[in-house]
Symmetry: C2
Subunit: 162 residues, 2 copies
């Protein structure tokens, strides 16, 4: 199997996901990255998290996270609060408007793909999981030029830069 073919397949998969994101955004006003951020807050203590935590969860560059949070703030779905004791840090809080929206739409992201996944047998599902994890690790190693002696987890945080 040619590497370019893998790349093109992945691009196709991503395109489909992003088209779905566009569709959800048109209907509900939030995109998939925004939904993932709102979900993360909803599962956090006091429905709040530091911006750095969100960035790490989303596995994004901080300027990107900043942009996503800006847009959520503009929509009134999150609020930016100062963090006591550290003036550099911003706490992001889910607003009740954000909470209500997430009560309406959490399944949207899932319902079509989940249904299809549920129709697959367990071994196929496991193949998908294994393959994705394998690709993930292959590409992480490639990107980081990791020494084989160091566990991946040790690099995961270090690989996130501003």
């Amino acid at each position: 199997m040619d590497t370019t073919e893998i790349l093109i397949k992945i691009r196709k998969i991503v395109r489909s996901i992003n088209l779905e994101s566009k569709k959800i955004q048109k209907e509900h006003g939030v995109s998939i990255p925004q939904i993932l951020c709102l979900q993360f807050l909803r599962n956090s203590t006091n429905y709040q998290a530091g911006q750095g935590e969100i960035r790490k969860f989303l596995n994004l560059n901080s300027s990107t996270a900043s942009g996503i949070i800006n847009r959520l703030e503009t929509k009134g779905l999150v609020a930016r609060l100062p963090k006591r004791g550290d003036k550099r840090t911003v706490t992001i809080a889910l607003t009740s408007k954000g909470d209500q929206l997430m009560q309406e739409i959490p399944s949207l992201l899932h319902e079509q793909l989940t249904e299809k996944l549920e129709n697959l047998d367990d071994s196929t599902l496991e193949n998908i999981q294994t393959s994705l994890e394998l690709l993930e690790k292959l590409l992480e190693l490639d990107h980081l030029e990791a020494s084989p002696l160091i566990a991946n987890d040790d690099f995961t945080d270090a690989s996130l830069n501003n």
Copy 2:
């Protein structure tokens, strides 16, 4: 396996690919989508193709393709030629500068991932391929809300819009 987990894994994979793209662009001045376009031209008759063909190959919206080609043109790697007999259509030609660049860098995209892939046994490779194809089809069907009576291939072109 949760759908969000699949989504997050795919996002991670894509992030790694895009980081690699950024790295290649910094070193050689072209990104992965640009390289894919140049590759396509290099494999085309007379090193030329209509913009619509490139768009379909890249599986992109036409405004995106237009942007990519604009940037390649600015770099002198492609040229825009009128097409005889149809004034709406633009023919994109690989320049010799573009050709020379592609002689230097075609393996860049491949060398790290290919090496890792070659170390995998055939059944694992096949699992990766099968899983990607399965995801691809699942998401295509989701997106298109296809009738089960129509073959996917019939939809592939129709799904591309401007």
